[in-house]
């Protein structure tokens, strides 16, 4: 019992929110490109380059906001390169994405050396992290332990979750959102109405860069306050995985990210019960994989419905031909 309460508590939920946020931000970014019909495996690189420049910017400007702006700008530059190559030059998306990831890795380390004279990480040195937002009254209303659930995160955590709602609205109720969906789903329809496919895809790629940039800035100024090489640590790839099986729908993206974030936070806690670290560390990936398989299984409700129908029919009396005219006998 004690073990259970040690495992499942508010702290776990709070941790889930923390672990979910960066993936959610970058995955929501990827939602734009996914919906616009281009595949962006380069999210990892956009996030990493933004994390780096956010730290640099924060030191230069002496403000976390300045850091965020500069970090996001760097991600936008990467997004623009991606768009030029993929949209205008029709380069293979996977090659471009992977190459941009490599580029981000190499550039951050080189620039780290050039700017800070060190390898690896920048800590301290006047980096200004994002402040924590205390929601007024949360403590009094909910009590100190539950209040943690909604209060005391850095701003981008709220932005990430709010963005889910905004993006639902965006896709359903705004013109640009609609065009992005149309361009991804049926480009000829857009073209025939004079909607420029290229322009929409560029916009989607840049919007993606914006959110991936925020995700990076969150990593290095919000989640923690430092930069270290390769600090995105596969979160961008995780986001790509979530995007492919969510099709970029904001709600499904949220669900996927929460699932992964929860599995991550949960598995970290499992380690303290003596499970071998390497196996426990694989849990989030295994959970994601199982969820993916389970979902594709479920994605055939009609088949299941049919099977159920078959069974039902097999059990009932043989129906007459007339009765079966519109719903024929399944072949036994």
């Amino acid at each position: 019992m004690e073990i259970l309460s040690n495992l499942f508590n508010v702290a776990l939920l709070v941790a889930t929110i923390r672990t979910t946020t960066p993936i959610l931000l970058v995955a929501l970014g990827g939602s734009f490109t996914t919906k616009a019909g281009i595949f962006n495996i380069g999210l990892e690189g956009q996030m990493l380059i933004a994390a780096f420049f956010a730290v640099v910017g924060s030191i230069w400007t002496g403000s976390s906001l300045g850091g965020m702006v500069i970090g996001v700008s760097a991600a936008l530059v990467f997004a623009l390169i991606y768009a030029v190559l993929v949209v205008s030059f029709r380069a293979n998306e996977v090659v471009v994405g992977l190459a941009l990831n490599i580029l981000a890795g190499g550039m951050t380390v080189s620039l780290l050396k050039a700017i800070f004279g060190t390898r690896g990480s920048v800590v301290g040195r006047g980096i200004v992290g994002l402040p924590k937002v205390q929601i007024p009254g949360a403590r009094d209303l909910l009590g100190p332990s539950t209040a943690q659930l909604i209060s005391g995160y850095t701003p981008l955590v709220y932005v990430a979750f709010l963005a889910v709602l905004l993006m639902i609205l965006f896709y359903n109720r705004t013109r640009l959102g609609l065009y992005i969906r149309v361009v991804g789903e049926k480009p000829e329809a857009a073209e025939a109405l004079g909607i420029s496919i290229a322009r929409i895809r560029y916009t989607a790629a840049l919007l993606c860069g914006l959110l991936a940039g925020l995700a990076g800035a969150h990593m290095s100024l919000g989640y923690i306050t430092m930069f270290t090489e390769n600090m995105s640590s596969g979160r961008g790839f995780m986001a790509v995985a979530i995007l492919i099986f969510s099709g970029g729908d904001p709600l499904k993206v949220l669900a996927g990210c929460l699932l992964f974030g929860f599995a991550d936070a949960f598995s970290l806690r499992l380690q303290t019960f003596g499970f071998p670290s390497y196996l426990v560390l694989a849990v989030p990936y295994a959970v994601a994989l199982v969820a993916l398989f389970a979902l594709s299984w479920r994605a055939r409700p009609k088949r299941i419905r049919e099977t159920v129908e078959t069974i039902r029919r097999a059990l009932s009396v043989h129906p007459s031909r007339e009765a079966g005219r519109d719903a024929p006998l399944p072949r036994s």
Binding site: A91, N92, L98, G106, M107, V109, A114, L281, A286, L292
Partner: protein, 356 residues
């Protein structure tokens, strides 16, 4: 009539354009690279010369280049096989690790006569790679589960799993995070006395030629190609699209496992944590740049191998660091992928070869 002329014209013009485009792309990448090199206060010419010397300077260096080429080539072939069948195996990295571990296990846990030992270890490496992709492959052909996602996820698990095996179950006492060394009977023969270059390279080349010939000359290869480029047509023609798809992924995984086996038995002679990171992705990029052609992959893999080998000397002989090489490498890949002249015309009908 007009059509004939039209197409003859298009073809030759297209080829010339492609070549010119690639050359232009290359030049742009190098120019960008030169700017970066200038920024770190090195001479681009010196860097390029050192790079060339590091890759092809003498027999040893050439062997070093080929040593780097081997795993990229074999991983690239694994990627080519899947691409031909219309699929993406992004999980080569994981298959490489599992294959590497499996080969090591046979290598240290059993005492077998020389040739047999190698064969047994290689076989298990191949089986391990195939098994690792079997589940994603099954879900892909049966339920259409996207194999890009499932194989990416499987990579993480494979890496962690082999680390677990290595450190918790088979750690060499007193050693680094590695298994005991394999017995010498399981070593792949080396080609030259002065290098670790081994027959793995020949395996890779034979595989490339074999796979190319398979696709070009055999009925089964024809069926795979058709499933990859026109699945509905293949289905109509009596090819079992699911079975072929499953087989293709399995073989691709098996070759990924083989790459791991070659690295273990040929070079490292043991399995260690993080033993060959990134080769799977290098192989995938090499294969994509070669547009899925096994023979083309020999050259792209050689190109990557030379860059990697050259950068090792670069780091010693100049103040440029390996990251700079990474940056330049990425620029070259980007430029070449853009294929500058070919695709500039704004036609909207341009088909993509692979869908996600």
């Amino acid at each position: 009539m007009t059509n004939r002329l039209l197409f003859r014209g298009l073809f030759s013009k297209g080829l010339a354009r492609t070549l010119a485009g690639q050359a232009l792309a290359f030049a742009i990448a190098l120019a960008l690279g030169a700017v970066i090199i200038l920024m770190i206060e090195e001479s681009p010419v010196a860097v390029l010369m050192t790079l060339m010397r590091g890759a092809f300077g003498d027999a040893e260096k050439i062997a070093g280049t080929l040593l780097q080429t081997t795993p990229i080539l074999i991983c690239g072939i694994a990627a080519c096989i899947a691409l031909r069948g219309g699929m993406f195996n992004v999980g080569i990295e994981g298959q490489l690790f599992l294959g590497g571990f499996a080969a090591a296990w046979v290598g240290f846990a059993f005492a077998l006569p020389p040739v047999l030992h190698v064969l047994a270890a290689m076989t298990l490496a191949v089986v391990a790679g195939a098994l690792w992709i079997a589940i994603p492959a099954f879900f892909r052909v049966r339920f259409g589960t996207n194999e890009v996602v499932s194989t990416i996820l499987a990579n993480y698990i494979a890496t962690l799993l082999t680390s677990y095996f290595t450190i918790f179950l088979f750690k060499r006492p007193g050693g680094w995070s590695e298994t005991p060394p394999i017995l010498t009977s399981a070593y792949l023969p080396e080609l030259f006395s002065f290098s670790r270059l081994n027959i793995g390279l020949l395996i890779g080349l034979a595989l490339a030629v074999g796979v190319a010939a398979f696709f070009r000359w055999t009925s089964a290869g024809y069926a795979v190609t058709m499933v990859g480029s026109a699945p509905k047509f293949a289905e109509y023609g009596g090819v079992s699209v699911r079975r072929v798809g499953f087989g293709v992924l399995l073989v691709s995984g098996a070759v990924g496992g083989l790459a791991g086996g070659v690295e273990t038995l040929g070079v490292h002679h043991r399995f260690m944590e993080g033993f060959a990171p990134g080769f799977g992705f290098d192989g995938l990029i090499a294969a994509l740049l070669a547009n899925g052609s096994p023979i083309g992959t020999i050259f792209t893999a050689l190109f990557f191998g030379a860059l990697r080998a050259g950068s090792l000397l670069l780091e010693v002989d100049t103040t440029a660091s390996r990251e700079i090489i990474t940056v330049i490498q990425a620029l070259i890949i980007l430029a070449v992928s853009a294929d500058l002249m070919m695709r500039r015309r704004g036609d909207r009908t341009g088909e993509r070869r692979w869908k996600f």
